[in-house]
């Protein structure tokens, strides 16, 4: 019998419900049970938010951009507000900046606890999933009491914040944080000592420091590989210059390290919130913001729970933004998933996928990869339109 070349066997996962309940398509080439190659495809929930922002006033655009992501909504609004205020040369009162950071850190608590639940659920550890989501209710209730909404808090307004922190809320938050701190200690103990769970995380999806730098990993994913990068530390914004953040890194780079880094960030967030409540600046919480923003362009960087979030904002001097470009952290981290997946078992894929804390709605942005052997390409509006027409002809 003639011996034929072994064909590649591809396991498609998604677009419906790949590990998480959001759309994304992955193709894993497998040799037996071992993954030998991985590709990803996104764009299933493209909502045209960036273009939509151009047709809305500065105030309305902030609320639209807040809805890029439902989990880290506050950082999106903060990034846009900081950029627009920089363009309009408006100085926001320090109390407003402190409240922005306070809500941002509460949001980080809730986002990391949500991720912890999802990630351990992927590992089949549903008890910890229930625990962490039960305890997440505490921080959700705190956010509801503070801002009035459980998600999409709309705490920001251009030129400040809407909400002030009074003594009752301060006491509520401090009381809630005490419980959360104890729970976080418990999570840290479980994810570093539970043998069955360590079997799913230790040495899985290891990304070295060099790989992380090469692939441009951001946020806790990068920090778990020893990348010392955090916008709150290297380019402090809002009230972070007054309330410095300690960088949390790990050197192991595997899934366990990502768990440890994120849980340690819970402690750090709790520490910052306590410090802010202790030394809350006094004064106004809002300043007047003009409806027309002077011509100019700016870049606004903030640290979202998933990593660096970048906003490019351009104004033509009107009452609407001329261009808003969002670069979300999840988009930067996919390279690390596709690279570290190789060599692991197919059964580890959901864990590796959820290990970067992916946010699929963050992914639906246009990204152009420039390869060294190809000339740089500039896309203007007309060529993008033609590309779209050609793309859908197929």
């Amino acid at each position: 019998m003639e011996k034929s070349e072994p064909k590649k066997f591809v396991v498609p996962i998604g677009p419906q419900h790949p590990a998480l309940k959001e759309p994304g398509h992955f193709e894993f080439e497998v040799d037996g049970e071992i993954v030998t190659g991985a590709t990803a495809r996104f764009g299933y929930v493209h909502r045209g938010i960036e273009k939509g922002a151009e047709t809305r006033s500065w105030i309305q655009a902030m609320y639209l951009l807040e809805r890029v992501c439902g989990i880290c909504s506050h950082v999106h609004a903060t990034a846009f507000a900081l950029g627009a205020e920089k363009l309009a040369k408006v100085t926001v009162p320090p109390r407003a900046q402190a409240i922005r950071v306070l809500v941002g850190e509460l949001e980080r608590l809730h986002s990391h606890m949500l991720w912890l639940g999802v990630a351990v659920h992927e590992a089949g550890f549903d008890t910890l999933f229930m625990y962490s989501w039960r305890d997440r209710e505490i921080v959700m209730d705190l956010l509801e009491g503070l801002t009035g909404n459980r998600v999409n808090y709309s705490a920001n307004v251009l030129g400040g914040v809407k909400i002030d922190v009074d003594d009752k809320q301060r006491d509520d938050i401090l009381k809630g944080l005490e419980v959360l701190e104890q729970r976080a200690q418990y999570y840290l103990k479980v994810v570093t000592t539970d043998e069955t769970f360590l079997g799913r995380t230790r040495g899985i999806g290891t990304m070295t420091y060099e790989q992380a730098e090469l692939l441009g990993a951001v946020g806790p994913t990068g920090r778990a590989s020893g990348v010392k990068r955090d916008v709150r530390v290297e380019a402090p914004y809002a009230a972070y210059p007054d309330f410095p953040v300690n960088l949390i890194t790990d050197t192991r780079g595997d899934l366990e390290a990502r768990f440890v880094v994120r849980i340690k960030e819970l402690f750090e967030a709790i520490r910052i919130i306590r410090e802010i409540l202790d030394k809350m600046p006094t004064g106004e919480i809002q300043t007047k913001m003009p409806r027309r923003v002077p011509e100019g362009e700016t870049i606004s960087r903030v640290e979202a729970p998933r990593g660096e979030l970048l906003y490019y904002i351009r104004s033509a001097g009107g009452d609407k933004p001329d261009r808003v470009k969002v670069r979300t952290p999840s988009l930067c981290n996919w390279g690390s998933v596709l690279t570290t997946a190789v060599g692991h078992k197919l059964a580890d894929m959901p864990m590796i996928l959820s290990g970067i804390d992916p946010c699929f709605s963050c992914n639906d942005r246009a990204a152009i990869i420039r390869r060294p052997d190809q000339p740089a390409q500039a896309w203007d509006w007309e060529s993008l339109r033609l590309h779209g027409i050609e793309y859908y002809k197929r």
Partner: protein, 141 residues
């Protein structure tokens, strides 16, 4: 975890009250700042339209009955509202507020989602206008 500790957990759970709440029967009081349905005080309104202009989801419409006498009514679309409270911020006369009591807004029909606020006389005038000879005059600011 030892088996003994596990059994202890099981027995303790037998005598614990349920963690769930009997929601429609017993209601938890809403937090002070909860953002529920919009409340409009037409007596303070000057008809500046800033709330309608700033609303990110086009949920507010201020209808002028008589500009000179400062009579306005507001048509509010609860189904469009995202409860961001921008209108409350934009209003310089404090006629808008988000209620923390009325937050159970679900409905199986579409009609209850369109609410019209204002004094009774103004609402009657508005209804007379809309059902009268010139229906297109209703939304002219």
């Amino acid at each position: 975890m030892k088996i003994g500790a596990l059994l202890g957990d099981v027995f303790r759970s037998l005598f614990k009250p349920p963690a769930t709440e009997r929601y429609p029967v017993e209601k938890k009081p809403a937090p002070m700042r909860l953002r529920g349905k919009l409340v409009y005080d037409s007596s303070k309104c000057t008809g500046c339209q800033l709330c309608a202009k700033d609303c990110p989801c086009d949920a507010i419409e201020i209808i002028t009955i008589d500009r000179a006498a400062k009579r306005f009514i507001m048509r509010y679309r609860v189904d469009r509202c995202t409860f961001c409270a921008q209108c409350v911020e934009s209003c310089r006369f404090g006629c808008l507020d988000l209620s923390n009591e009325e937050w159970e807004l679900a409905s199986v029909q579409k009609d209850p989602f369109t609410l019209t606020f204002g004094s009774e006389a103004d609402l009657e005038a508005f209804l007379a206008k809309t059902t009268g000879a010139q229906p297109e005059a209703e939304t002219k600011p």
